[in-house]
């Protein structure tokens, strides 16, 4: 099981497509930095089939004014929760 980190918005970079093709069935995806723009309702369709394993970083949502715009299918975690996710998986893969 891997945790993938993504820091690009799906509106400007196509790297999210490569992430999705690479993810295993149990892998999680954590949206950080500009990646959290993908968590808003108008953009989350770029991440289909990830119920229960699509996360977004609260601090990065809040600084961007997105806290109230995050789609309900996205699990919001704070930095402490991000660290907790990395405790559960042995390896993370960062995409940019």
């Amino acid at each position: 099981m891997l945790l993938h980190l993504l820091n690009r918005a799906p509106s400007s970079s196509s790297v999210h497509q490569d992430v999705l093709r690479t993810m295993g069935e149990e892998d999680g995806l954590m949206l950080i930095e500009d990646g959290v723009f993908g968590a808003v309702s108008a953009q989350v369709q770029h991440f289909p089939g990830l119920e229960g394993r699509l996360f977004a970083l609260r601090e990065d949502l809040e600084s961007r004014g997105l806290a109230g715009r995050c789609d309900s299918r996205v699990i919001i975690v704070d930095m402490d929760g991000f660290v907790a996710l990395t405790e559960e998986v042995q390896r993370t893969v960062s995409w940019f």
Partner: protein, 126 residues
């Protein structure tokens, strides 16, 4: 629409295409616009692509306490930036409308974009 054709004659157009907080593009672009205004140039901004996020209401200060872009945008009014254009297609693609934005803007449709660029003597695209 007619507003764009007749009003778009300025010295300096700064295009903002990068999202706030993820990097320094937006800040360094706004710095240039402010300097232009301080030097007495007629300055316009055009927000496009992920740059439209820069005007979203409710932003906080960035990680580790660095300043957000909100205070800079509020300075724009003081410095008399003449026009704040926003690409409506970029807004719509992100589920945004002008009501979500911090400041009043001039909405630009795709066919009008080239007119905005053509109307400025100097263009910086960040």
């Amino acid at each position: 629409m007619s507003e764009i054709t007749e009003a778009s004659h300025g010295d300096l157009l700064v295009m903002l295409r990068h999202a706030p907080h993820g990097g320094l593009w937006l800040r360094e672009a706004l710095d240039l616009a402010l300097v232009g205004a301080a030097f007495g140039q007629s300055v316009s901004l055009l927000l496009m692509g992920d740059g439209v996020w820069a005007l979203l209401q409710g932003q906080g200060s960035g990680p580790l306490g660095q300043k957000g872009s909100q205070s800079t945008f509020e300075m724009l009014e003081m410095y008399d930036i003449e026009r704040l254009y926003v690409d409506v297609d970029s807004l719509a693609a992100r589920g945004l409308t002008r009501d979500d934005l911090l400041l009043p803007v001039i909405e630009v449709s795709t066919p009008e974009l080239s007119t905005v660029l053509a109307g400025h003597r100097q263009i910086f695209n960040f």
